[in-house]
């Protein structure tokens, strides 16, 4: 294993000025190894989303730098960042992941077709198979359940074989069964296809699907845990909050 899939070095993000100044990230340095499933946890307002946005080329840092593989994002123009997101990054948001006028299939191949590429048929079928949405491909988002929609979003993230997938509470809006299914698929993608995934979550059970958990509080990394289980995570949260 050479360089990590993504890396933040002394990342600092400050919103506002003077009285309204908020330091969302305070000198955060963290690596995300290839083929690893990482969860980011922490209390509300601790900077989880901010960190993820900065890693995912959706936002820029006030200070420090972010690398995707060997490429430094800092200082890139909008066009380069956009192409980077398109070609190297996959997204699963908490909700509203899909374009309502497009079918599931069209949504899944959207990043590729925006780039003017065709999706590898074999891989596409495999992804569809893993996520079990083969019978939903012609449906529009409004004709699918929340769980199905999130699975389509996951399929979209996987379809273009990105270097890294970011998820901001991807199972946050789902009931526990659908949530578990989705996280199971993500786990499978990591184990069987070496996909790198970074996921923000509030939920200890969700976090237990990950290989590693990074704990944030007040914009700083306060702890890490490897091979987590739900009980270990709950214990750790209790001690962190204490």
């Amino acid at each position: 294993m050479t360089s990590p899939a993504a890396r933040a070095v002394s990342a600092t993000k400050i919103y506002g000025q003077g009285d309204t100044k908020v330091t969302a990230l305070n000198d955060v340095s963290v690596d995300f190894a290839r083929g690893e499933f990482t969860a980011i946890m922490g209390p509300s307002g601790s900077g989880k989303s901010t960190l993820m946005h900065c890693l995912a080329a959706l936002d820029d840092l006030t200070e420090g730098s972010v690398y995707l593989g060997d490429v430094e994002l800092t200082g890139m123009g909008d066009r380069e960042l956009t192409e980077l997101r398109r070609d190297k990054i996959g997204f699963i948001f908490q909700s509203f992941n899909l374009i309502p006028t497009l079918t599931a299939k069209e949504n899944i191949v959207l990043p590729a077709s925006i780039a003017g590429r065709t999706t590898n048929k074999e891989w596409f079928d495999q992804v569809i198979g893993i996520l079990g949405i083969g019978d939903r491909l012609g449906h529009r988002p409004s004709e699918m359940s929340g769980g199905q929609q999130q699975r389509v979003a996951a399929a979209r993230a996987l379809a273009s074989r990105p270097e890294i997938i970011f998820g901001d509470e991807p199972s946050g809006n789902l009931d526990s069964k659908s949530g578990a299914e989705l996280l199971g698929f993500m786990r499978q993608a990591v184990d069987e296809h070496g996909q790198t995934i970074v996921m923000v979550t509030h939920d200890a059970i969700s976090a237990s699907y990950a290989d590693r958990i990074v704990f944030l509080a007040d914009g700083k990394i306060v702890d890490e845990m490897l091979e987590p289980t739900a009980e270990k995570v709950l214990d750790r949260i209790k001690t962190l909050e204490a």
Binding site: H53, L58, D59, D78, R79, T82, E83, R85, R86, D87, I89, F91, F93, F96, N97, L98, I99, P100, T101, L102, E106, L110, P111, S113, I114, A115, G116, S142, R156
Partner: protein, 834 residues
Amino acid sequence: MIRAAIRGIWEHKLRTLLLVLSIVAGVSFVAGSLIFTDTIGGSFEAIFDGAFEGIDIQVTPDVDQGFSSVQPAFDASVLDLVETTPGVKETWPAVAGLVNLTIDGEPVSVQGPPNIGISWEGDPTFQVLEGRPASGPTEVAIDTVARDRFELSVGDQVGLAATGALTEYTVVGIVNGLGAGPGFFTFDLATATAALNLDGLYTGINVSVEDPTAIEAVLEAISNRLPEGVVALDAQAAAEEQAAVLKEALGFFQTVLLVFAGISVVVGVFVVYNAFRTVLGQRTRELALFRVLGATKRQVTTSVLVEASVIGLLSGLIGLAGGVALASAAKFGFSLFGGSGLADGGLVFQPSTFVTALSVGLIVTLVSAVLPAIRASRVSPMAALMTVDKPPRKLTKQLVVGTLFGLPGVVLLILTGLDRIPLWAGAAGALGLLLSAYVFGAVIGRPFIRVVARVLGNAPVRKIATDNAARSPRRTGATAGALMFGVALVVAVSVIVVVTQDTATAVLEDAIASELIIQSSGPDPTAGFSAEIVPIVRGLDTVAAVQTTRFAQGSLNGEDTFFGSFEPETVEQAFKFAEVDGNWADLVGQTVAVQRTQAEELGLSVGDEVSIDLGSGPEPWKVAVVWDYAAAVDDTQGFYLPTSTLADRFPQANVVAAYITLVDGVDPNTAKVSIEKLISADYPFAQVTTQEELLADLQTQLLGLLSVVFVLLAMSIFIALLGIVLILLLSVFERTRELGLLRAIGATRKQVRAMIRWEAVFVSILGALMGAAVGTFAGWSLAGSIFGEGFNFVVPWLWIGTGLLAAIVAGVLAAILPARRAANLNILEAIAYE
């Protein structure tokens, strides 16, 4: 609620601005036409107040001739009859007729009212403002209209020609004019009589009476003595009538402005209605929240109407300013068209104009907002809790309403096109069809856009644009529909122009055999040119035959009509005929040749007798020839008299057209040059043209007309474009999250811009094609009504193509602002947007 409405206006400044702009144009046209009419109308009254002071009675020929065409005349012996009538104090006989003029040797041939040459020796007809009356064969006094229009002053030289060769005159005086209409050039009686070839004739006698209280009695006494064809009028009444005639010309300007006001207002209503519908649709949740918090339906409606009123009042105020600008422009146009002196005063701005403008703005917005407001008030409080997209509604209502308007519209248009019913019924039909197409836009919009998209291929971004345009069919249909109005009008007008051109080409190619044609280059083509040219041209070896045509006005079997004229000796060399009953050689004396369609309509055939009145009472004339041109031409001047007869009856009239047939093998252009060399110095208004030049001239004239119409219609198209901008902005706003998502997963700014642009282009192509279809159909119908059944229909492909291209360009332009908004959205904020 009201405070919320006002804040809404302020928070959406751009939206408000676009809404206001959509209405401003209509208000401007209305206000402009009011200001213009008040301004010109005011000056008219002032001018006519002092006209004809000192003249009590006017004796004139009994033909309603206006100023153009041949001025009729009566025998000089009438003067005796008038002079010797008891109670008559003084009489001033006069002659008048059309003249053409040159300044610095250059013919002045602007479009506009004609110039009148008239005799005047200091009587009360005019008052001297500067200098003195003309006297002798080289002097002229001109009125203020001529002075202003041609920028002349005392001491200047002008060349004038009536029935003879061009003569130079010195301007020796300026007299008061009527402020608009023709310009007057006054000579002493002898000079005018010679110039106008009116020896022994008068065209009018001004009379004053001994006792001003007894005008009526004297008027009756004179009337009793006058021969047929001559009448006596109360001079004041005549002045008023003249003022009315001029005001009618002004009314034309007002009508044009009001028609365009109507079009702009209608398009504005549609744009604003559509925008309100969309905005309120988007605000459903907000309004429902108000309802949850206890607002009544009434309060919801009121808040919407308050917002509409503010926008309406703003539009009214800005429209007033636009109206002032338009009125100034119209005044300028009117002064070019013959009103001068009227343009001196400032604009007349009456309080009623202010009220009307504000009312129009207010009413237009309220009318546009009322339906959406009622719909909004019906929002159930439950809607606040629902987040899902409403399923698309069935378009049954659109189908029913569209058919209800469309079917009668189509039937009326077909009947009009076949010339079965009058034009106004066709206009009603066109309106019905337009409304129907507007409603149908929602029904055909979706399939149409899908087809266009299939033709273009489904590139990913375009696919999304296609889906977006098809997403709200009613919104898309209405947006395209607003554009359709202007395009339909443009296409309909161009159908007429293309058909006119085609017909004219057919006439020239298939009906006229002569290689060269001489016409008048003066402002009024019916002023013609001197008959003295004819023998000169006939004398050339290269010329085989000359055919001259004169015009006269009169009535046939009691119906007012124009008469043309033929020379029987050369008519067959000048024109190509298909079928001729009778003999051209018989067209002499009191005979008439009738075109076949007219003959059939009146049931006339060779040998029949008709009653023709040329100003001196009805007389029996015999039909000598019934004829057809070789081309399928429906000549509106269907009655032709012998040229020699007209020349005898109206010595003061000029030749209106001469058709020159050349000896075989002579090049028309060479012949043209040699004829010009002979006549141009003395007869500068006789313009020799080849057939090609004539066609080219016609084309230029038609294009000129077309461009004026287009400029005015561009206004309505512009409003429709504002509509596209508005709706796209609203859509971008509505789809903020989608756009954020697209950007997050890798759509570049350029792609997002392209997406919005495609959506705009789809909408504008839809509007343009609907407009082209309705316009072509309406144009066919209109042409059928104008040119008669069996005219040669031409689809104006060039114009439709240009229109389509323009629509695409317009769509691209309309998309600029919304596309920029969409592309510059902050991705993170957009994703988090509720």
